[in-house]
Subunit: 406 residues, 2 copies
């Protein structure tokens, strides 16, 4: 399958929401490219395809390995990112720029939209018979790319979420009440589900987990909360920002609409869902201490909370993209695959660009409990090695003192 050596320059760019390990992929690809004699200049485009359109390139061939290694440890797209879905005209313009700089190797680090962009640019090249290699390098904390067992960035995001719930569960244990935490993931519940890793002792939270894959009903939610509260005197809840009702309407947007129809200020959103669910609990139960937090951007950018497996795999998908493209495949995406069996073993497979583009994947049924308010053991077994060790949590186990009468 080895193809002829194509000599030319390389361009790499980053796109979409950052992750804490996205620069591992960048550095993995750049260091691997430096070894390949057919790759001449290694350019980085600033802010994804916007940087290509504006010809805003930096010469990564001149970046020292030492600096690259520091950047690899640094969260968030070092080249800058962009949220731009290119039009058909944009794609033509992008392709013209690639030709102009004799770019023969193109790598785009991103999610399903970036795979789609890479696919369209590649179509353009084929159409024009321009000899060209391109690879999509997967990343997304949402873990929703098809063909992948999991995506790079997810493990570290999940570690942050699990750690946050560990601490928050202890906070709630010290000062009991109901605590709602809103977690990222508009359509896929993986990140919210990872909160379950926070449980160490049988009564540890999160006690309830609501995912976008199951319809959310306020009456059922209130019933769940009352039941848990009666059992433990407290309740910690993980809610995906994307929870929707039976008709598929996001709960957050429903509240916002309700407000609009009354002519009120529309909230920008992130804090609103948690506050409004908290309000529901306050008004529909007798529980007085109810709090809500939205974990926010920290989930994708907090430095220092990194899954070792995730960092390693993010580096390797970058390396693999370059290896695949100089040795065997003209284009594609690097998918992370896991071997069957109890041991965590990863391999990298080239998949078609089309097969990861556009559509995303969701939590499979076997990862969600029947009641739709928790995860299963299958999910925990799936996610634990991706996240790796969590902080050690201890409890006092000293015996109760017998009360003195009178």
């Amino acid at each position: 399958m080895a193809h002829q050596k194509l000599v030319g320059n390389m361009l790499i760019a980053q796109s979409g929401g950052p992750t804490v390990v996205i620069n591992q992929s960048l550095v993995g690809a750049v260091l691997e490219a430096k070894k390949q004699i057919q790759i001449k200049k290694i350019y980085g485009a600033c802010h994804g395809i916007q940087g290509i359109l504006d010809e805003e390139f930096i010469d990564l061939s001149k970046e020292s390995n030492r600096s690259l290694e520091t950047v690899a440890m640094t969260p968030s797209s070092a080249l800058g990112s962009v949220r731009k879905k290119p039009t058909s005209d944009d794609c033509k313009a992008i392709f013209a720029k690639l030709q102009k700089y004799n770019i023969r190797y193109f790598f785009y680090i991103g999610g399903n939209d970036s795979a789609e962009t890479t696919y369209i640019i590649n179509e353009q090249a084929q159409h024009q018979k321009y000899d060209f290699r391109c690879f999509h390098i997967c990343k997304t904390i949402d873990n929703d790319l098809r063909e992948n067992d999991h995506t790079s960035g997810f493990g570290s995001g999940a570690k942050f979420v699990a750690s946050a719930f560990m601490g928050d569960n202890l906070d709630n244990r010290a000062l009991p009440g109901v605590k709602i935490n809103v977690v990222m993931g508009r359509h896929a519940g993986f990140l919210t589900a990872a909160s379950a890793l926070a449980r160490v002792y049988p009564d540890d939270g999160p006690h309830l987990i609501y995912l976008p894959e199951r319809p959310f009903s306020i009456p059922t939610f209130i019933k769940d909360v009352k039941r848990v509260y009666a059992l433990y005197g407290r309740c910690v809840i993980a809610v995906s920002e994307g929870i929707s009702d039976a008709r598929g309407i996001p709960v957050a947007s429903k509240f916002t609409k309700e407000k609009d129809s009354h002519g009120n200020v529309q909230l920008s959103g992130t804090g609103a869902l948690g506050d409004l669910l908290a309000n529901c609990v306050k008004t529909r139960t007798k529980i007085s201490r109810v709090r809500a937090d939205t974990l926010g951007y920290l989930q994708r950018s907090f430095p220092g909370v990194i899954s070792e497996a995730d960092a390693k795999e993010a580096r390797e998908v970058g390396q693999q993209a370059v290896r695949f493209t100089v040795s065997t495949f003209k284009n594609g995406s690097v998918a992370i695959r896991r071997s069957a069996g109890p041991k965590y073993k990863i391999s990298y497979k080239r998949v078609l660009l089309k097969s990861v583009a556009k559509e995303t994947q969701h939590m499979p049924n076997r990862f969600i409990n029947r009641a739709g308010n928790d995860v299963t053991l299958a999910f925990l077994n799936y996610v634990r090695p991706i996240v790796g060790p969590l902080p050690k949590i201890g409890r006092l186990s000293a015996p109760k003192v017998k009360k003195i009468r009178g």
Copy 2:
């Protein structure tokens, strides 16, 4: 000054908002007490003074040192906490319980309210001529206790906040816009101010810092944001949850009141301030990408992000409270003092309970810049050793590629 040996049991309890190192103080006191022959049983009260009123005690003499060491590393009050200001009758009842269990040594880990409670209980004992020793052990992420250079719990909270801003600044650099983060601290701005430690490069955020110690004005805020945005094309903002207008009315409550008068649902609060400031920026400027997060409870409970100095000092204030009380002082609070000079050197001083009770302290003027929208170098020098090393951040420094004409 050495006083006569008083033989009896000891009781220790935790109160108020947790910190990630509050159990270091508990374990420091318990391990030190185990060495003292005049201290017999070591009881822990569950959920602060509520546990004393209910006689909910555990026998910490029977907790293994190994278990204690794991608990010391675990965030949030292991004994449980409480937010309860005792009435005069409560104090009498508490004192009666202490007598009943022959408690001669009482330690209360908490903030200014807990110091006040300890003071009142001690008054009660003196009034009744009950031979009694008691110490308050300082903790609060707000860093607002008088007599202290800083309080235990603050360093780790500040490390979390600084780390959060480091990551969020990188996120904002990758996807530029305005980002507002709301930080804990209703009356004292220390924690919000600590966000300034996130700056590594000259253009790093937070670019604006608003503290409760200075009046907040929306027009000035908008002017500041416009100026920074014109300069960097982006703006990261740290806002204390307690920012108030010139009349001292909290900005958050003003917005909420406005809503109430229109008969709308009252928001529980935490997400509201950030969202509403973001809305201000959106409607009063031409900047389209504006986001807000509220850092929330993670600031006081996130496991694993711990300042080493903070953990060490939290352990030592616990130890010192026991040492002071068996050797020299009948009662008091352990204050953290810092030696003058560039080297970070800490000592522990016994101060009067009254001198840390009730009233709190705020950011001194020399820590806040003239414009009231940033901190000074004096603050950075003050806070840096309390927080210790932060994650290493790298940037690409590769040269720009010269654009090809045409």
